[in-house]
Amino acid sequence: MNPIITAFANGIKKSGVELSNMVLVSDIPFEPEIIKELGVDFFHITRGRAIAFGTGLKLGNPDLKIVAFIGDLMTLGGNHLVHSGRRNMEMLVICVNNFVYREIAGTPAPSVSPGFSAFSTFEKPFNAPHLANSCGAVFTARWTALHTNDLTNSIANALDKRGFSVIEVLSPGPNFYKDINQIDSELLDFYYKNSVTKNNEDTRNVEITPGEKIITGEFTDKEKPTFIDTYNAQLSKILGDKFIPHGGQSGGD
């Protein structure tokens, strides 16, 4: 099985989150067998919209634990990322950063660094943990797919957090459908060997720069009221007794 999924499965176990409450939303079509094995509910939706879809799931049923597995986080999903960070919508976002859209060979994604893409690009890439942190995420981390233990721990930590958490996973190929091929494995190995772990590093310093070490680690870990917390606080203030607080574990009732 894909190392990210393995880390995810282990992370769930470690965190003690109820499996039946967990809903996975993704713009990547996972193999049904994987979902069956994970034992969670799964929604494969249009590219980039997983966070928004997850927002609806969470507000429809605040007891749900939402995990968004996203390939298209910073492009199509960019606005959803920015605003969910701002409102601290409670969910875990796992951004699978493969640097290029493998299936459309050579078309660079906004996180592409000039040194990594086959056809290269002159545009400056996004620094995903810094972007998430700046928007208000309560937890950010970056690992490569080969940091299995670290990734497992971060997933467990993030699942236990109340708020918007973002974990960037450097992994070649978003394609969970097929086997990772030889070139991908080589690239994955390259990422792993060229990385250095610096926990609590200021996210401003974790940009991925060609020729330099990739910085991995857990960067952000803070507490902030969630969207539902602030919604309940504000409407109680306006409506007093007439307000029915929005329920669930994070609803404070």
Binding site: D41, F42, I45, N61, F243
Partner: protein, 417 residues
């Protein structure tokens, strides 16, 4: 099932259509609206945001219309009734995910208070030019239901009906209102909860291990469960089988793709007679039938009155349900009448459906309008008069030259031949 008294603000009010729609959504049992403000629909969202928290429902102002509609899909599968509210460019933005909604059979409602277009168009004034977009806006084959209220009272009543239809058929339901009705104030009676009939979600209650999320009932609509209820759901926008699993076998893809999309279309087409609601009057001896919907219906009434004063026998057919289109009704009428007259605030959308269904048996006259206003009833009366006198069968849609059109062309451009 009756509405929950907590959701119903029973009383007699003087309110505009947008506000009435907000009340209608809550009364229907809507628990979640994700929306993004846009004129002239904003008052509906504001109303819901104001009354929802007292009933345990939530409104969230999302980051954009794509986020709004995606959040509505999510909330729908979390087990609650949902809606979004929009207009003009916002409606265009939502198109992508309407297709997802049709594909994963999420029940949801979109309130579109139509405004003048294209693009930013005329934000504060009316239009009826999104009718075809409702039907065909997202890529691929699917069917939707669209209804067109003509008064604030109807925006209350038919918002409830829209929710009921979306739960019953598990498809997108559009309330295709417009700025005129949305911003028109009239008396609105919100009845007591026990007088409001609402359709509950079709929840599955068989053994967990036997649940197939896309196995249809007799009426072609499958039963639903909630996310997070331990069904190990796999729901995808890819073409999928009854388990919800993507159809991946390349050899079978071509053949097996037929089943799921065929059913998405058929569950509406084969149930069309049960869905369609029309209002007809003066049909018995009609020589001409005016086909209209929404605000144009109320404007057409004045034109029809004027034509009747001249002794013309005019029938009045109002499409309350615009989609699915009442093919049978139009075809049946086409064999009896001389012509159809179709006033709509666009340059021809529903009129072509009327032409299609009349199969060349009756003439079809379009009374166009470019938006930002309603028809002059005199134009409608004159078009009726023309239609009843025209003896030739004209095998194309006849475009009536309205006063406004004459004005535009006199002062405007001429096409060089």
């Amino acid at each position: 099932m009756k509405a929950n008294p907590r959701d119903v603000n029973t009383g007699t009010y003087y309110m505009d259509g947008d506000v009435a729609a907000g009340h209608g959504a809550l009364a229907a049992g809507c628990r979640f609206i994700g929306g993004y403000p846009i004129t002239p629909s904003t008052e509906a969202a504001e109303t819901f945001a104001r009354i929802a928290p007292k009933a345990g429902a939530v409104f969230i102002q999302m980051e954009d219309e794509l986020g709004s509609i995606a959040s509505v899909m999510g909330a729908s599968w979390s087990g609650v009734k949902t809606m979004t509210i929009t207009s003009g460019p916002g409606y265009s933005l939502m198109m992508e995910i309407i297709g997802l909604g049709a594909m994963i059979e999420a029940p949801f409602v979109i309130l579109n208070i139509q405004r003048g277009g294209p693009s930013t168009g005329v934000p504060t004034k009316t239009g009826q030019a999104d009718m075809m977009q409702s039907r065909w806006g997202s890529h691929g084959d699917y069917e939707i239901i669209a209804i067109s209220p003509d008064s604030p009272q109807e925006l209350f009543d038919y918002t409830i009906k829209a929710f009921n239809l979306s739960e019953k058929y598990r498809c997108p339901v559009m309330i295709m209102s417009d700025e005129c009705v949305g911003h028109m104030s009239e008396k609105v009676v919100i009845p007591p909860a026990e007088e409001i009939e609402i359709e509950p979600r079709r929840f599955y209650n068989g053994p967990k291990e036997k649940y197939l999320p896309f196995k249809p009932d007799q009426d072609l609509v499958p039963k639903m469960v909630k996310a997070g209820d331990g069904y190990n759901l796999y729901i995808t926008g890819l073409v999928h089988d009854e388990r919800g699993y993507p159809i991946t076998n390349q050899k079978e893809k071509g053949k097996r793709q037929q089943f799921p999309t065929r059913r998405l279309v058929d569950k509406i087409r084969l149930n069309a007679d049960k869905i369609i609601e029309l209002n007809e009057e003066g049909m018995d001896d009609a020589e001409v039938v005016v086909v209209s919907y929404g605000i144009s219906y109320r404007v057409a009434i004045r034109g029809i009155e004027k034509a009747r004063e001249k002794g013309i026998k005019v029938g009045n057919l109002r499409l309350i349900t615009v989609w699915p289109f009442p093919d049978k009704k139009i075809t049946e009428l086409a064999s009896k009448v001389k012509a159809f007259v179709v006033p709509e605030i666009n340059y021809g959308q529903i009129v072509f459906e009327v032409e299609r269904c009349s199969h060349g048996q009756a003439n079809v006259v379009l009374i166009p309008h470019g938006g930002a206003g309603v028809h002059n009833p005199d134009d409608i009366a004159e078009a009726i008069e023309y239609a009843v006198k025209e003896k030739k069968k004209i095998r194309k849609v006849i475009e009536w030259k309205t006063r406004l059109e004459k004005f535009v062309f006199e002062g405007g451009y001429k096409l060089n031949k």
